[in-house]
């Protein structure tokens, strides 16, 4: 390689190195500016909530606010569970077995986001043609397992991540 060529190579390397290192820095600067819009630590702290369900009788339900949305916690009677399990999957617009929507050994408890999967209204409890919930906005009917049966909603009401901390406490999120 001639001296001139060697010089050009060294110069290109220097410029390439400068640009590359500079680009890395630029990326490092952009990340905080983007990440600051993600949920902050206070939001994340409220990301889980523990609910005391010891006062809920079979057949009743309570509603709590979690991540800004309502969560229905219904304690079903044995009859209601049987009713849910008797439904044939072919009758369901969004086929799903009742067993898949509850925790093993805790079949009484239905924990789901109280948000209609059509356009986001909050369905009313103990209403509708299927002994479950009815959404007044556009007429979606949900059954006793929170599954859509009739109406414009495409899917069953969403089951969030939850677990039983003990027999009386459910941790959502």
């Amino acid at each position: 390689m001639s001296k001139e060529e060697k010089k050009v190579n060294r110069r290109d390397f220097l410029f390439t190195a400068s640009y590359t290192i500079g680009a890395v820095g630029l990326g490092a600067v952009v990340w905080p500016l983007v990440h600051q819009m993600n949920p902050d630590k206070a939001q994340q702290a409220l990301a889980t909530t523990e609910v005391d369900v010891s006062q809920v009788e079979p057949g009743n339900s309570i509603t709590v606010l979690w991540r800004g949305k309502p969560v229905f916690l219904k304690r079903r009677t044995q009859d209601e569970i049987a009713e849910a399990r008797a439904v044939s999957l072919t009758d369901l617009p969004d086929p799903q077995k009742d067993e898949e929507r509850v925790k093993e050994g805790k079949d009484e408890w239905l924990v789901m986001l109280g948000v209609c999967t059509h356009l986001g209204c909050v369905p009313l409890k103990d209403k509708g043609d299927y002994n479950g919930w009815f959404c007044p906005c556009h007429g979606s009917h949900y059954d006793v397992s929170g599954r859509i049966r009739k109406g414009p909603a495409p899917t069953n009401m969403e089951i969030p991540k939850y677990e039983f901390v003990d027999n009386n406490t459910i941790k959502i999120g």
């Binding site: 905080p32 500016l33 990440h35 600051q36 819009m37 993600n38 902050d40 630590k41 206070a42 939001q43």
Partner: protein
């Protein structure tokens, strides 16, 4: 400017350029002939652009989380510092960025004062620059109010109360500014709105500032007019872009030093006390970059007089191109003016120091001396020295002293200062 027609290389480029000449603009900026002897004092324009963009970007991000209500503002800033992802970083960049912005603008202004960059034909560039400076001070003042600490509140009270000194309409103007009968929530809300607005006004003025500059081209340390392009100039890219990048990186190291290791040293601890209208701090002081004007304000026993002199101290700068009678631009060749320049720098620093001290005793005396000298510099020194001074001989071109081995060592030294 007579640029030869720029022809874009690609068809897409030509299509766009025919409809909006962005590529022609780009070529103009890239090829823009710049004096090759510019020293590092000329890098601060680029640094200031970086500062403005930094403040705008961090400011917009902060505005996503800040709440402009008297009951919530202080808490919202703490929320940013503690909970928002990288909130502490963005906040400290913004607060220290304001100081760095003013550090750069003062160096930039004092460069112009030394090298005569305000003189014909660059008067309009100078005036637009002063308008930018005024808007910077307004934006900084209002920005400081937003955290709603003790200094925020009381600094706002002191400065807005100044308007009541105006005869007849003063009280009404002050109430109108406040939107209430004292600095209160309405004041905070409108300051937030205006604080968000002003940087974009500054951005517009910066475009005009650079446009006006590109007509005659840059001044240079020797202060002589040069032909462009010629052997006295270099294309802006890559020569000046790389030099500006180097200077900017050095500036950023200092900036980072403050942000990461001493983020509150330039501020005042009282501003971490939530605003209390019933308790006045022992010493109300503005941020450091406003101190010289604060000293001038307080050196006059009469309220209206103080206000007039304080604004006068800025407005006198507007007429500087006409106060300076010298036919020679650069202080490099003005041995008498040079002395007065450095005395003026000392005077401004002293005024700044006095602004931080209570307005009593020796501090008040010195503030008054400093104020009188400040005005004397513009009203007496500039015209008189310009007329009477015997200037050093100036070179014919920038390259000439190097090529012809000019006798004046001072010239040769300044020329070699390019890197």
């Amino acid at each position: 400017m007579s640029d030869h027609e720029y022809i874009p290389k690609s068809k897409a480029g030509k299509w766009l350029n025919d409809r909006l000449p962005l590529l022609t603009l780009g070529a103009h900026l890239t090829d823009y002939p710049t004096p090759k002897n510019l020293n590092y004092w000329w890098t601060f324009g680029g640094i200031l652009t970086f500062c403005l963009l930094t403040q705008i970007i961090t400011g917009i991000v902060l505005a996503m989380h800040y709440v402009a209500h008297a009951d919530l503002a202080f808490a919202s800033v703490e929320h940013i510092m503690r909970d928002v992802n990288y909130g502490w970083l963005i906040r400290y960049i913004h607060s220290n960025g304001a100081s760095m912005f003013f550090l750069a603008v003062y160096i930039h202004i004092f460069r112009s004062l030394f090298y005569g960059s305000y003189k014909s034909p660059r008067e309009v560039i100078w005036i637009i620059g002063l308008l930018i400076y005024l808007l910077m001070m307004a934006a900084a003042f209002m920005g400081y109010v937003l955290p709603w600490g003790q200094m925020s509140f009381w600094g706002a009270t002191v400065i807005t109360n100044l308007f009541s000194a105006i005869p007849l309409i003063g009280e009404s103007i002050t109430t109108w500014l406040w939107g209430a009968y004292s600095v209160d929530n309405p004041t905070l809300n409108r300051f937030f709105s205006l604080h968000y607005l002003i940087p974009f006004l500054i951005l517009g003025l910066v475009v005009l500032h650079i446009w006006a500059l590109h007509v005659p081209g840059n001044n240079n340390p020797v202060g002589i007019d040069i032909k462009k392009p010629s052997k006295d100039t270099v294309p802006f890219h890559p020569y000046i872009t790389i030099k500006d990048a180097f200077a900017l990186l050095m500036f950023m190291i200092i900036f980072a030093g403050f942000v990461f290791f001493s983020p509150n040293v330039l501020g005042h601890s009282d501003n971490y006390i939530p605003a209390n209208p019933l308790v006045t701090p022992a010493h109300i002081v503005p941020e450091w970059y406003l101190l010289p004007f604060y000293a001038i304000l307080r050196s006059v026993p009469d309220k209206l007089g103080g206000v007039i002199l304080m604004f006068g101290a800025i407005f006198i700068l507007f007429v500087l191109p006409w106060l300076d009678t010298s036919k020679v631009r650069s202080a490099v060749f003005r041995p008498i003016y040079r002395q007065f320049y450095w005395i003026f720098v000392l005077d401004v620093l002293m005024l700044g120091y006095m602004g931080a001290m209570p307005a009593e005793g020796i501090y008040l005396v010195l503030a008054r001396v400093g104020t009188i000298y400040y005005f004397a510099h513009f009203i007496i020194v500039m015209p008189v020295v310009g007329l009477l001074e015997k200037t050093d001989p100036i070179p014919m071109s920038i390259s000439e002293p190097v090529l012809t081995g000019s006798a004046d060592p001072a010239l040769a030294r300044k020329d070699n200062e390019k890197i």
